[in-house]
Symmetry: D2
């Protein structure tokens, strides 16, 4: 069943496996005449790439994107934009020991249950390399949103394990985020996170955490009532990322411990019409953007792949143990930031086009 | 833009407003030959209905469902099942004072921003009455899942404001849930919740909380890799419910504070093949069901409508104040339980059919 | 599998059977603020209704449409518009003799093959009564197209059996078409058609024919390249009508007997830019409207239901014979005209909204 | 707006332009575990390729397909199969004279009207090279249909200009079709067609014609009632091919000149249940396959590109003339055969999976 597409009007479809020819994406529905800066697309891909610092896996990859279609003289033509990143690191033999065993808390067993068959090399389709296509497509959405509406999207690491950062979503900048390899813009928290991640690596263990993302300058009116609410689509977008286990918008779970009187966002007169004095709604009311910053939080579990020995079973159902070999991220949070941004960008671009189709009559 | 449909193969579309002729739903894609128990459908609707106890709003409604199509001699024909519930309580004049003012943390302002126009009576399309169609469709999905796979879905109130219930998701029963009007199966917590809700009513205030839902006997293999992960679709489903602000599957946000070694679910040999010794994954790995119980939590903010006076603005952008009139739920959690169940049921039915289409070849 | 929806942005879903409670439709995606003339909707339904003249079946039906949702103070709200027409003529017993036999060239056998089960009364879901929903939705599309773009759509009977009408698609009017019960605007042909249809009735036989439809003032640029070409979507739309067996746009099959030099439409300077001197393209080039009239032809086979005795088999596979009882249309062509118009209108409305979403950037 | 995808469960998306990097396709939804013969895929592509004989354009292209994803050890994994064919012949300068002029009966003007912008080189996205992806995907569908249901699909040229072939759809074979470069299995007609095509080339003119296609062993029950009728989806599929102007199933337009008594297909007892004694329905009744051969005819207009001088206008709207340069097919019919087969295959594969999802309950 069709599984690899996201969005209805700005429609993104990824393809490819960890150890096949490559991974890629098609973007169908990008409006024509957008002057596309491919260097900026590559820059977003570089933020996702492993090997950026000692904190993340050292696998060396160029991950250089090739545009196969959809551009003419640097501008989008309105037809599908296909992009391909070839796989470079192809030591498939390194995965032979995983052929007949299910890694705990990975997709090995469930792929077998679903398909009766799987590519065990590097997770195959469930590999995080699939997200390369999302980031490339998100980078196009970023340019479309900026050109048409001035929208900007920024994410950061707000929690690693038990270390919580203090960050003001309304003022934090990309420079703040990129100042540290953790992508945590709170320097004290960043230092503590770094120490914790290093320790986890030494322990053969791994850590999880939370990415927060904000979208600014989103026009009011995006999102549909009922099922395709903007925050419902954002929830799906974020929960489709590998290792994500939770999603919040605005006050989220913490807001359930407030009373209505404390939680409601009063409307006040603003320079361009009504605005909210507070933003516990997270920029979305009744599933539709209200013009305030959209603020979401995404929970990522600790990485499943760890060097410590774990109990598991073989594909024949016999008990065994397994310890990961080679280098692995003890914490995916820093690299998850561009993924979360990408999913926010793709969701907003889609709803921007959807709203455009509504505004037909005077 | 199309906004009122959910699912791809088991496709549910709702229609109707709070103060129009009625609300309804079509279910397109329900397999033929299902002997449908319409009394059971009505029973699920009755669980959603206001006026069940002193805890919830006293508006008297019959909410009797009429089947317009898709059944022949008590069985589904494979063609669209349309169901209609007519609106009975039509005192539209009661909403005149809301015509020119935006209720805080409601969809009034965003509907105007989106459509340039809205039906102010009872929230119009954003009214919780829209969920009647979801519950009716979910009740059909419940029967389809039971008949084909033995799946059962059960939800309960696990938190109201700062009161947390202690409930074992693996053993709790429908009788446990329905034993108290709060739909909290922990009697001590239920008593405390009742007191808190009564107090909120007296205070002209409102409370939020969390609904937990479990799906049992779900076959391994449901859900798609990449975007249409089972938990991603569940996240969208739940976040499309009115007033929901957060979603978790399995360990959720709490799991981000564990290490990988503590968090991973070891596989162990089971009677029917590999199974997990623990269930921090919440029954979903890599976006695909693994045969364990699927466990989700949904956060609902405190109700926006409160009797206390709040700051807001008129539709002309002038500052004013507003206090809700009449009777209102100080806490929607008990009535949210059948809604959460419905969205779980609809998501599972859809993915069951999707998996069916995959299993073509030997 | 989902089967009863048409369109992507102007999305129409029908429901209902010949002998259930009623038939209806939801329109999801109609832009807000359209002042809807429901009398005009009813008028289109009346054109579809049986019993308009001696030429068509005399079954008496009111077919009065009830709007269930989506309108507020006479204008569309942007949310789903649901409409219901209740079934009045419910003499199901009249169909008892069809319960165990397959009518030749009907859907009886194929429904059983598909669903293992069917409602034999009046064709059930395959009844032409399903098209009531299409016509009601098409009437809304007609008003949307007129209000936003000045588009007008007109169909007529251009052939019955071996009688071909002579009609100029560029000048024919609705009054011309409605001047005769045949809906053939060529008076001589209309008279011959009437005689032929009367003779077929006396013979216990039936006749087929062709409906031609034109859309005027369609802006250039509607339709998508590749799969969702405007003429491809029109072909699907028309071939989804009961009894249709063929579709042509512009020169159609006849054009295959011309040479390229004779067939090509030369561009010439026009008052608003390039226009074609001829219109063998039928208003569509490369799947996209070019501003010229869109002209299509739809073939309808002779009605399957005839009073003469025919060979067939029982549901148990035993040879038998069957002759239709009661009154039946010997020729559906006059009533097919509003159906063809409706499908043209729905297709154009959908592509108008799709093009709107493309035109985002300056 | 999304434009380049076909099918709902067996979903095919093409990308690429005539003079970009290449053209390609993704197939999302192909069931897992299909042992894929890539030589057979290449063989179907070779049938589509120009330069096969003196009758068709001599442009030399390898058109070798590269699989980018979705296969593991020769079998489909259930995840997207991406395929790429790089463009070899890149003499873009040959198109400079077309930059500022609209070719008659091509998509040049309509692309500008739609996108405000176009790639004029070789037609860009409207180039027939886009169909490479369809044929590659169709070749996979062919193997899926054969493996699961024994379905076979065969097309041939049944008419060129005024030359009509005599072919029995029930017995004609692939060898018959491939015996002559015209792909017309009637030798006398093939010889006349060859002479006519050669003459058209000498005249700087072009010819159109008709391709007939048959699908055998299609199980009864494929196709949905109402909008997604099997023949409606086939009509869309065929009308989405470049240069197609008409579609018929079964008796088509000719059937409109028969009476019902002569046209109806009597049911007779067959070895596996009811079957029709004749096949004027073309294997589809009520939009659903009845087990008989599915027979369709597709009209292709004479090629728009001709060496003779034609009137047209510049992009600035000034009258001019244009004559095609270089080599061009005077008749696309022989090469259209694999395209028509591909669209039949894609439609059937999609409906096979859709029907699979319906057959859930006993």
């Amino acid at each position: 069943m069709v599984s690899s597409s996201f969005g209805t009007l700005f429609r993104v479809s990824t393809f490819g496996e960890s150890h096949g020819v490559g991974v890629g994406v098609t973007v169908d529905g990008c409006p024509p005449r957008l002057a596309l800066d491919m260097d900026a697309v590559q820059a977003d891909l570089d933020r996702r790439r492993p090997g950026q610092s000692r904190l993340v896996t050292q696998r060396a990859e160029g991950d250089v994107v090739e545009v196969l279609s959809g551009l003419y003289e640097g501008r989008t033509t309105g037809t599908p934009i296909a992009m391909l990143v070839r796989n470079a690191d192809q030591n498939s033999g390194a995965y032979d020991h995983l052929k007949d065993v299910y890694r705990p808390s990975h997709a090995d067993f469930t792929y077998d249950a679903k398909y009766g068959f799987r590519d065990h090399r590097g997770g195959g389709r469930s590999s995080a390399r699939e997200t390369i296509g999302r980031v490339a497509a998100g980078a196009i959405a970023r340019q479309l949103l900026a050109a048409s509406s001035g929208v900007e999207v920024l994410g950061w690491v707000s929690q690693v394990h038990d270390i919580d950062a203090t960050v003001d979503p309304t003022t934090v900048t990309l420079d703040d985020v990129e100042a540290d390899p953790t992508r945590c813009p709170d320097p004290d928290a960043a230092a503590a996170m770094t120490a914790a991640i290093e320790q986890a690596r030494r322990d053969g263990d791994s850590l999880g955490g939370v990415v927060t993302v904000v979208a600014r300058n989103v026009p009011a009116g995006l999102g549909e009532p009922v099922f395709d609410k903007l925050d419902a689509d954002l929830a799906k977008a974020m929960m489709s990322l590998p290792a994500s286990k939770g999603f919040e918008v605005g006050s989220g779970f913490a807001g359930t411990r407030m009373t209505g009187l404390a939680h409601n966002d009063p409307f006040v007169p603003g320079p361009d019409g009504p605005m909210t004095a507070t933003n516990r709604s997270g920029g979305v009311q009744g599933g539709i953007s209200n013009g305030a910053d959209i603020v979401c939080r995404v929970a990522f579990k600790p990485t499943g792949t760890i060097a410590s020995e774990q109990r598991t079973v073989t594909t024949d159902g016999v008990a065994t143990t397994l310890a990961a070999r080679g280098r692995h991220d003890p914490c995916v949070l820093p690299r998850a930031v561009p993924l979360v941004e990408a999913m926010m960008l793709l969701t907003l671009a889609d709803h921007l086009l959807r709203q455009r189709a509504i505004d037909l009559l005077p």
